[in-house]
């Protein structure tokens, strides 16, 4: 245990992986809170899938696997996907879930097509793009972590700045509109910040598991509190803990894949929260029902004994 702790601080690889995963957990925990409360949990899934063709196109243009152009490509594609999504919802009769499905499958299909095309080329540089499908946190290096910290820092600063506005938008968009807060602008800003979270997550947990990083921490945090601020902080903490635990577990001798391990750690937190959280947890609910039944039975028995009820 203490050896693990020492590695966490001094082992270059583990330190980067743990830091990168924790940063992802914090950013996706914060932004996921808004996504979950706005009932847009699957938006992150769509954005993550939509990012894949962006990565491929960026690679085809630059011909290298340099980090920043690829992430930029991912971000742009995710953002374009969002705008198309908003357009479909606004301009057609299709509902949001249909629009999410259309954007997700079209962009992802195109991405896989490009990935196959790249893999078939005779290019020594090609290998490794498919790591964005399932993530490869073990390959995180210091420069990645620095990029994550900058991106995440900007996203969190904006959330802090527009905390009131985002709260109002999430709770009552119509009222927000009547007060003159541009709800379309706010929505676009919030969704763009989710794109940032997705960009951070692509390399770590990958396209396929990114949705879990947005939904999991927030869903778990909602169980424990009735205050938005507390929920957001708790969600960030859950995300960070899952990130670090996942990273450390994947570094034990079994050499588990980091992304899926992070998501599994998160799943444990989610299930524990669903079951044991006070007031909203299932166990608590069961206990309360039992107490009620008991009190009721006792009352009936008392009435019977006193002769009020036969």
């Amino acid at each position: 245990m203490s050896e693990l702790l020492r590695d966490l601080i001094f082992d270059y690889t583990l330190r980067n992986v743990a830091l990168g995963s924790a940063l992802l957990g914090i950013v996706s925990g914060v932004l996921g809170s808004y996504a979950v409360l706005r009932r847009q949990g699957l938006l992150g899934d769509t954005l993550a899938h939509a990012a894949l063709p962006g990565i491929c196109i960026a690679f085809l243009i630059t011909g290298s696997r340099a980090q920043i152009p690829l992430l930029l490509g991912a971000g742009i594609a995710g953002w374009v996907g969002t705008m198309i999504l908003l357009l479909i919802v606004r301009r057609t009769v299709l509902s949001e879930d249909a629009a999410l499905g259309i954007v997700l499958s079209t962009f992802f299909g195109f991405g896989v097509l490009l990935l196959t095309f790249i893999n078939q080329r005779d290019d020594a540089n090609q290998a490794g793009l498919d790591k964005y499908l399932f993530g490869q946190a073990a390959a995180l290096i210091e420069s990645d972590v620095i990029i994550f910290a900058i991106l995440g820092g900007v996203a969190l600063a904006l959330v802090l700045l527009f905390y009131q506005e985002f709260k109002l938008l999430t709770f009552d968009p119509e009222f927000a509109g009547s007060l003159g807060f541009g709800t379309t602008k706010l929505s676009v800003l919030l969704t763009s910040l989710i794109v940032v979270a997705v960009v951070i997550g692509l390399q770590t947990v990958g396209v396929v598991l990114m949705a879990a990083m947005l939904i999991g921490p927030a869903a778990a945090a909602r169980q424990w509190t009735d205050r938005l601020g507390v929920m957001i902080v708790l969600s960030a903490a859950f995300g960070a803990v899952a990130g670090v635990v996942g990273a450390v577990l994947s570094f034990t001798e079994e050499r588990l894949p980091t992304g899926p391990t992070i998501v599994l750690a998160l799943t444990v937190i989610v299930f524990a929260s669903l079951a044991f959280a006070p007031a909203r947890g299932l166990v608590w609910e069961w206990w309360r029902r039992r107490q009620q039944r008991r009190a009721w039975a006792l009352e009936v028995a008392r009435l019977k004994a006193e002769g009020h009820v036969r």
Partner: protein, 273 residues
């Protein structure tokens, strides 16, 4: 904070209407929801907007507040476009339009009423908190200030929404079906609030569905069914002819106007259509 209401400076005899709609048409994909609406709602009135389901009542107030896209026409609030008069308008949306499981308490929701004046980025402080507390008190909800909003009854939630509008400290209050699904205590609280607002010179416009209670609560009436069917002082407008034209034209009430009979008839018709 007090605002000099513009209408007070208008020359006597020509008061500026609180709400003025000109040639307003709103359509959702081809189908007109509101057709060529011309309407003036006088300042200081307690106005009910009444009409059958799908008549465009909610759309009318959303259009007036810039929340529905206009296909044609214009809106002015106390003589100016809505954009410039936002601070004069308090809005109470339908209670069912939000998720009451949102993680927040009653006081926090009411404080949202102060965000408009605060503007972008500025955080509410002690002053806003006090305004919100006073608004909650006025609706008999002070004891519930720190209650999670999902633990409030439907009527209490409605009062929280009304308190939020009060915290806006407006001249014109626009309410979408505030009486729907509320208990007797809340209904009384709303009626008291409406009267008090009127006594303070404010204007209130309510979308209302209950024809029976309407004559007791309001003094100005707008009958709407996609078009404006009739509008004017309540008693003069609440006639069987007007109501039957609003609700489909199948009532045959003769003789002296019996508000209750008219109300029952109209509601029966509404059920059929």
């Amino acid at each position: 904070m007090t605002h000099a209401p513009l209408f007070e400076h208008a020359p006597p005899g020509t008061p500026v209407p609180a709400v003025s709609l000109r040639d307003l048409t709103v359509a959702y994909r081809e189908t007109p929801v509101l057709w060529d609406v011309d309407l003036d709602i006088p300042a200081g009135s307690l106005t009910a907007i009444i009409g059958p389901n799908g008549a465009g009542k909610s759309t009318l107030i959303k259009a007036a507040l810039g929340l529905a896209p206009l296909a044609a026409g214009s809106v002015s609030i106390f003589g100016e476009p809505y954009k410039e008069q936002r601070d004069l308008v308090g809005y109470v949306p339908q209670r069912g339009s939000v998720d009451w499981d949102f993680p927040t308490n009653a006081l926090d929701v009411v404080m949202m009423g102060t965000y408009g004046r605060l503007g972008w980025i500025r955080r509410p402080g002690k002053a806003q908190r006090e305004v919100a507390m006073r608004s909650l008190e006025q609706l008999g909800m002070a004891d519930f200030a720190h209650r999670q909003i999902s633990q409030l009854s439907g009527g209490q939630q409605q009062r929280v929404f009304l308190a939020r509008a009060l915290a806006q400290d407006a001249e014109l209050y626009v309410m979408d079906e505030p009486f729907v699904g509320v208990d007797a205590t809340t209904e009384r609280a709303i009626v008291d609030l409406l009267r008090e607002l009127q006594a303070r010179g404010k204007t209130v416009v309510c979308v209302h569905h209950d024809l029976e209670s309407a004559p007791d609560y309001f003094d100005w009436l707008v009958l709407l069914n996609v078009r404006i069917i009739a509008d004017g002082p309540f008693a003069a407008t609440f006639t069987p002819e007007n109501l039957s034209r609003t609700y489909g034209g199948r009532t045959h009430v003769l003789g002296r106007l019996d508000h209750e009979a008219v109300a029952r008839e109209a509601q029966e018709i509404e059920l059929r259509i």
